[in-house]
């Protein structure tokens, strides 16, 4: 049974007013448990609206959201259950911090879960360790932290709820390259350790290239769905909906145009260097 199943999901904002806007248009999607699913699409394609349905923050205008085959909006209890099973980290989550200490802020979610004190303590420390916050930071005020540390605190606040599906909306926006790489590594490690599923919304094609499965959204619908290699092979269609290719895929495409016989499906730097080196060894300079 798929973890998440969306059937005919439609969401219309401000219905019945002059400002009416269809953000999601009859969208079907299934996500199986496990792995990292990437969601890309230009601004306004409906990504953020889509993820707000996964943990029952927004009620669909039409269609259903199934979590483990059960309708999320069946009852108040099922809505609440979905909030805890699907953890959502919104864009710039550091603005949600409010507690006096980092520890208390991370503990906010587990406390709402009504867990035992020891269990809360275990989860807070574990989540903090996962994102790389050491014990000394836990007693400080979240407002004194650096931007990167604030971001980690906010993400830890959702990790501490130990969701089965973790949804992150642009988790690395505004971080420097080193911080971005570090945070991604930690999130991937968390997913492997917990055997959870991650849905990653991103604008960064180098991040999208590292997902197991990639969804491309445009005008409220899923335009493409498949392995990154297959998606990035359709460069022209991606450009048509306002997206671009990861730099290695772009370079490979340009080289192919110049007559270099590179194999298809190249989208990471490692694949590109390997392919060029293979050509080189086969017989002299490829160009």
């Amino acid at each position: 049974m798929p973890l998440i199943e969306l059937r005919g999901l439609t969401h219309v904002y401000s219905q019945g007013t002059p400002f009416e806007k269809t953000a999601i248009d009859r969208l079907d999607l299934t996500v199986e448990a496990g792995g990292v699913v990437g969601l890309i699409g230009h601004t306004g394609s409906g990504k953020s609206t889509l993820i707000s349905h996964l943990n029952a923050l927004l009620k669909p205008t039409e269609g259903t959201v199934l979590l483990d085959g059960e309708d999320v909006f069946a009852s108040k209890a099922s809505i609440r259950a979905a909030r805890f099973r699907v953890g959502v980290v919104f864009q710039y989550p550091e603005y949600q911090l409010f507690e006096e200490t980092v520890y208390a802020d991370i503990a906010y979610g587990p406390k709402n879960l009504k867990l035992e004190k020891d269990e809360i303590d275990r989860r807070v420390r574990q989540a903090a360790a996962f994102v790389g916050l050491d014990d000394a930071v836990l007693d400080r005020s979240p407002l004194e932290l650096s931007g990167g540390q604030k971001r980690r605190t906010a993400i830890a606040g959702v990790l501490a709820m130990e969701p089965e599906l973790l949804v992150l909306d642009e988790p690395t926006a505004g971080l420097d390259p080193a911080g971005r790489e570090d945070l991604l590594e930690k999130l991937f490690a968390w997913r492997r350790a917990r055997q959870a599923t991650v849905l990653l919304v991103t604008h960064d094609m180098s991040i999208a290239a590292r997902c197991d499965r990639l969804l491309v959204m445009s005008q409220g619908r899923i335009l493409m769905d498949g392995a990154p290699a297959d998606i990035f092979a359709r460069g022209d269609e991606l450009t048509a909906v306002g997206l671009d290719l990861p730099a290695p895929a772009h370079i490979a495409a340009l080289l192919r145009q110049r007559g270099v016989a590179l194999p298809p499906g190249i989208y990471t730097a490692a694949q590109l260097t390997d392919a060029i080196l293979a050509l080189w060894r086969k017989g002299g300079a490829p160009c």
């Binding site: 007013t17 919104f90 603005y95 949600q96 709402n112 709820m161």
Partner: protein
């Protein structure tokens, strides 16, 4: 969702009413309110209603929009009607049942009061429907500028009003965002006892306060970077100009007051 709340209530348009100088509209609204309290006969109410209907039609505002604006006031209107209906003293009893007594005077006064409230509110709505908040502040500033001599900081006051209006949509959006984020962490804002619910608001209010201070700080910095030094010697890109239509509007306003006074004298 909070986003669905329309604030400012301004309906952009390009009618004569929209193009009137905001000062004219502000002054005429005051005249209109004063006129409403001078009404002393049913004919007067009819005249005011006719004037209101004419302006609404001119501004191409759908009557439905005006009625929608009145919805939140239903409680006050009903209360006004009941108080006047049942608690007006008089001998001309219309209806009596046990301790309930309705007099003609009471009925008369109840209807008049309800009419007055309805006309008053819809008249002021017309001002906000046809004038952007910025134009209203601009107009207010110009109207109050004589107070400058009395060392009232008129410019600063109107700037504060401007900034406050400007940030209402931003803050609504921000509240929406923080609310979503805390709900995603299992915040329960809907159930529980009153103290519990008040406490549940803290995770919402604290980030909102923090970000408001941050925004204020950033705005102040941006203003200083652009050499803001108060209203002294400031020139305007959009000058307010009184035009022929404003003169006509004032004459029509005066005619309304005169009409009301005449009808009152005649007792129609």
């Amino acid at each position: 969702m909070l986003k669905d709340i329309t604030l400012g209530q301004y309906f952009p348009g390009d009618t004569v009413v929209h193009r009137l100088d905001p000062r004219t509209k502000l002054l005429l609204t005051v005249v209109y309110i004063a006129a409403l309290f001078m009404v002393g006969s049913w004919g007067g109410y009819a005249l005011v209603f006719a004037a209101l209907a004419a302006v609404t039609a001119l501004a191409k505002i759908r009557p439905k929009a005006l009625l929608k604006g009145l919805k939140p006031l239903v409680f006050i209107i009903v209360l006004t009607a009941i108080l006047n209906l049942f608690f007006t003293a008089g001998d001309d009893v219309l209806f009596r049942w046990k301790f309930i007594k309705i007099t003609y005077t009471g009925l008369d006064r109840a209807v008049a009061m309800v009419l007055r409230v309805l006309l008053l509110v819809s008249g002021t709505f017309l001002l906000t429907y046809t004038t952007s908040p910025l134009a209203i502040t601009d107009g207010l500033e110009r109207l109050m500028s004589p107070l400058n001599r009395l060392h009232v900081p008129v410019y600063e006051l109107s700037l504060m009003m401007c900034i406050a209006l400007r940030f209402i949509p931003t803050l609504i959006e921000e509240t929406d965002r923080i609310m979503s984020a805390q709900k995603a962490r299992g915040a329960d804002l809907e159930t529980g006892t009153l103290p519990e619910r008040a406490r549940a608001l803290l995770p919402l209010l604290i980030p909102l306060f923090i970000s408001s201070f941050r925004r204020a700080d950033e705005l102040a910095l941006a203003m200083e970077c652009r050499c803001y030094n108060g209203g002294q010697g400031r020139t305007r890109m959009k000058q307010l100009h009184m035009a022929g239509r404003d003169a006509i509007a004032f004459v029509l306003g005066a005619a309304l007051v005169a009409g009301i006074l005449i009808l009152r004298r005649l007792g129609i």
